[in-house]
Point group: C2
Chain length 247, copies 2
Amino acid sequence: MEVLNNHVTIRKFKNKPVDPKLLESILYSGTRASTTGNMQVYSVLVTQEEDRKQKLAPLHFNQPVAVNAPVLLTFVADFNRFSQWCTMNKAKPGYANFISFFTAAIDALLVAQNVSVAAENNGLGICYLGTTTYNAKEIIDVLNLPKLTFPVTTVALGYPDEKPDLTDRLPLEAVVHHEKYSDYSEKNIREFYAYKESLTEMQQFVKENQKETLAQVFTDVRYKEEDNLFFSEKMLQVLRDQGFLND
Amino acid sequence: MEVLNNHVTIRKFKNKPVDPKLLESILYSGTRASTTGNMQVYSVLVTQEEDRKQKLAPLHFNQPVAVNAPVLLTFVADFNRFSQWCTMNKAKPGYANFISFFTAAIDALLVAQNVSVAAENNGLGICYLGTTTYNAKEIIDVLNLPKLTFPVTTVALGYPDEKPDLTDRLPLEAVVHHEKYSDYSEKNIREFYAYKESLTEMQQFVKENQKETLAQVFTDVRYKEEDNLFFSEKMLQVLRDQGFLND
């Protein structure tokens, strides 16, 4: 399936708006994704206004893509709408809890991926912003999100102004397990990561960051334990504030 | 995009195996999905053996689809492999925390949706099993999943032996918000849910369950607060046991 197999992340977009009809059709394809009990417990926030993009950009650590993409789509786990419908229909909603958050997050993420595939199938390029959960609290404020909602990911969207090569992936056998998870031997790990480690680009990465190994670039620079602990606490607190965690 | 727009959930499969080459090609398309920092912090567990399917079926509440699909794919948030690679490369992994779990869950869910789209594009049918997070603990045992992994969803896969109609969706404007989340008025909610409530199938659903409203079927029968609270506690405990929640 070409559109899936040729996916590359786009970080540079043309200064060309996305036609509203096209955007609508892509979002429609998103809503055709599987959804738990057909409840559709998600919302999509479309950001196109310049000043709102300027407010979101720092929350995505000013990644250039957050600034220069014509459209930002924030995918939100949403039990607010469904709960309101319940209350209006003599039904007591019971979704102010963690499993409901996670159910809604799954819903939102399947929509996000469908939207991404539909976008690429229409000549657009996309970039996922993994920063959404880090600054969920501030994003909630900018987007006016009510209780029982939580932003789970953001997709930047627009016409590609670059044509990057496919990025490397681990061999399929590194991520697929038949029948039982077979834990990895040192030998497995060496083999599976050998190609990635051999890439000029990765070696450059190690050098630039003055590290000894590629793994250290991840643990010491890109995804540090202290940051992870900080953002874990923060995310759990926001889940609590949004009504999804009662302890 | 036809394959996205025509998606229907398949719950009845032909007694016809999925060719290993086809399965491999579908899984490959899965791995082309976006992944945080290209870390690929997920694994896919393929279940085809009859006795293991029999062990998984009750954990999916014996949904017929869990028994009669030739293939079950369990998508797992996985920081185990990556952490082992770090440790072997003089890097201290810092991923035993909640944000890392959620990052890995996003990764796993994007792969799941790509795999589903690729499967349907090849004439296969799929059904998501939302029960995976309810019984994650028991699924971990059956699939031998180590610490720093967590099963987030399951997709049942096979050749369709039914041709269901498209299911209803809320109007696009019910789930899409431009610039800011505009909270719903009673009038909005009435309008957005009117079509769903009008469907014969839904009215049948209300009658069968001896309820007054469709919403009550959800709150009193299908997704009850007491169950949600029980499974929330259970899921949080499993996250703790798997090393993703330290409090």
